[in-house]
């Protein structure tokens, strides 16, 4: 039970070189897999490929296989894919349907598209809103939400389809620290309470330090580092790969580099 990418190579239509070159990855239920890397290392492409949108919607050439719980994504229809694997992007506003007047109806958009009975739709909407923690936003107009709120509503909208996996491409990049914390906490809660497997692309390594179980570093379309979050985020090679380590790791490194001891008192004081 996992999203499995095996020997995946992907080239955009008309591109001279591959955006992804031989990637092997697993996303397991209940676990958060973080993806980092410099811009244009293939992180967004990875999201589209893992989520089955590439090459289906955007064209291009895919080699290797992408399987969700054993089934090949290429063989699935879009709405089946949507129920197995939810996708979220950076720009929350572009993901809202733009046709609904309340957050409740917005989150109901997905289940309604599936033709579920009204009672089921209602149950799913409240469940999704509760899991993400935004029930009180239900009567609000989707266009008048702050960036963080909009991203949470987009998350709830995707959750309402009860996917087993979630793929998020830099969901916090446009958000301020408070919004970032909201989204990060919501994701951790979703993984814990629903058992969803989460693939999270993030620049903010502090977020990954907090909620990721495993981390993969992508560079130029290939996996450069892979392992547990703690190990990868403390790896000295991160900087030369173009990734900023988390604040705690950086501070400790600076202290040790000047020949000083990392004070034990800090270990409990700051996580």
């Amino acid at each position: 039970m996992a999203i499995e990418l095996s020997a995946v190579r992907y080239r955009y239509a008309g591109a001279s070189k591959a955006a992804l070159g031989s990637v092997d990855l697993r996303v397991e239920p209940g676990r958060v897999l973080g993806i980092v890397g410099p811009n244009e290392s293939g992180k967004s492409t990875l999201c589209l490929v893992a989520g089955g949108l590439a090459p289906r919607v955007i064209g291009g050439r895919l080699e290797g296989s992408v399987r969700i719980d054993g089934a090949d994504t290429a063989a699935m229809r879009s709405h089946e894919l949507a129920q197995r694997c939810g996708l979220l992007f950076q720009n929350a506003a572009a993901q809202l349907s733009g046709t609904t007047g309340t957050v409740f109806e917005e989150v109901a958009f997905g289940p309604c598209n599936l033709g579920l009975a009204v009672a089921d739709v209602i149950e799913r909407v409240w469940w999704a809103l509760r899991t993400v923690g935004v029930e009180d936003l239900a009567p609000r107009h989707p266009a008048r939400l702050s960036g963080g709120q909009a991203q949470l509503v987009a998350l709830a909208s995707v959750l309402a389809l009860r996917p087993q996996y979630l793929i998020l491409d830099e969901p916090t990049s446009e958000l301020d620290p408070a919004g970032t914390a909201l989204v990060a906490d919501a994701l951790a809660r979703v993984a814990r309470e629903t058992g969803a497997g989460i693939l999270l692309v993030e620049h903010k390594t502090d977020v990954l330090a907090r909620i990721a179980d495993e981390v993969v570093v992508l560079a130029e379309g290939s996996v450069a580092l892979q392992g547990t979050a703690a190990a990868v985020l403390a790896d000295p090679r991160l900087a030369e790969l173009g990734v900023e380590p988390p604040a705690r790791v950086r501070l400790e490194r600076e202290v040790r580099a000047s020949g000083l001891e990392w004070p034990a008192a800090l270990a409990e004081a700051i996580e």
């Binding site: 410099p38 919004g179 000083l260 004081a269």
Partner: protein, 297 residues
């Protein structure tokens, strides 16, 4: 080991016979400025600030705290509903926005709101051309600014072929090329990877080194603590804190900071936990730790 970039210095005065490339920086003053949007939202409430020529100031706050609104008053895009904004004593209201662009360059958060040309070089030339720069001086500025952000190799590319973070650097460069004495950057590090952030830091340092006034709106506390000598914290349209990073991120300021949903950078927290005083940056923390260790020996 962090990534370091240096920025080449501006074309020098006199050697090519052209006029000085950057007029001297004006002083900026907000006099009890209040601003409400047409729909009634009160974005600024009685803000009074004085920014001297050549200062590097970071304006921080949560989204909706009024920081972007404040920035847009500097180049006349917004006019105060009460109070005045003065550049070198001249009320900004009396000058056309297009003329103010000679003095104040504002790089927007979303580069896609600005990019329209088919080639990077054309995009870069837009700003200076609007200011009347032509010929060899124009080419010089364009290549200098592209070099400053590391995009010289892309002069003939289509802006939309560059990824988001490089487009953001391009938008920054297109404002840099205008060589304004006041440079305002709206969330320059948001969405940037480590290399992009290093570039932005280098640009800020170089601009400050030439005597330009640099204002950055940001919610990246580390960027702010490391690159700016003064931090203005805004909350709900008001100035909540105003001082050096040491003062603004010191422990007694944390309640005010947290009331605006901001957190101090990690070195400041670590320094406070160990009783080392104000240590807003990693370097300050390490120095203070070194002194404390030396004392205890």
């Amino acid at each position: 080991m962090s990534v370091e970039y240096s920025v080449p210095s501006a074309p020098s005065v006199g050697s090519s016979g052209f006029a000085p490339s950057t007029p001297s920086a004006p002083s900026i003053e907000f006099e009890a400025v209040s601003f409400a949007y047409p729909d009634g939202t009160q974005a600024l409430v009685d803000v009074s600030l004085r920014i001297g020529p050549g200062e590097s100031v970071a304006i921080v706050g949560q989204n909706g705290s009024g920081k972007s609104t404040l920035a847009r008053h500097l180049n006349g895009l917004l006019r105060p509903t009460s109070g005045r904004v003065l550049l070198n004593g001249l009320d900004v209201r009396e000058v056309h926005v297009a003329r103010l662009a000679e003095r104040v360059g504002l790089a927007f958060q979303n580069p896609d709101r600005q990019l329209f040309a088919g080639r990077v070089s054309a995009e870069m030339a837009f700003g200076p051309k609007n200011l009347g720069v032509r010929g060899a001086a124009l080419d010089e500025r364009v290549s200098w600014a592209l070099d400053a952000v590391g995009l010289s190799a892309e002069a003939a590319s289509n802006p939309y072929d560059l990824g988001y973070s490089r487009r953001k650097l391009l938008a920054l460069a297109s404002v840099l090329a205008m060589r304004t004495p006041v440079l305002v950057l709206d969330e320059p590090t948001t969405g940037q990877d480590a290399r992009g952030v290093a570039r932005v830091k280098a640009v800020v340092a170089a601009a400050g080194g030439e005597g330009s006034t640099v204002l950055a709106i940001s919610h990246d506390m580390r960027f702010v603590a490391e690159c700016f000598g003064r931090v203005v914290v805004m909350g709900a349209g008001r100035v909540v804190l105003d001082g050096t990073p040491e003062v603004v991120f010191a422990e007694d300021a944390w309640p005010a900071l947290r009331a605006t949903y901001l957190e101090p950078p990690l070195p400041a927290v670590a320094g406070a936990r160990l009783g080392l005083g104000a240590t807003p940056t990693e370097a300050a923390f390490v120095a203070a730790l070194g002194r404390a260790s030396a004392k205890s020996l």
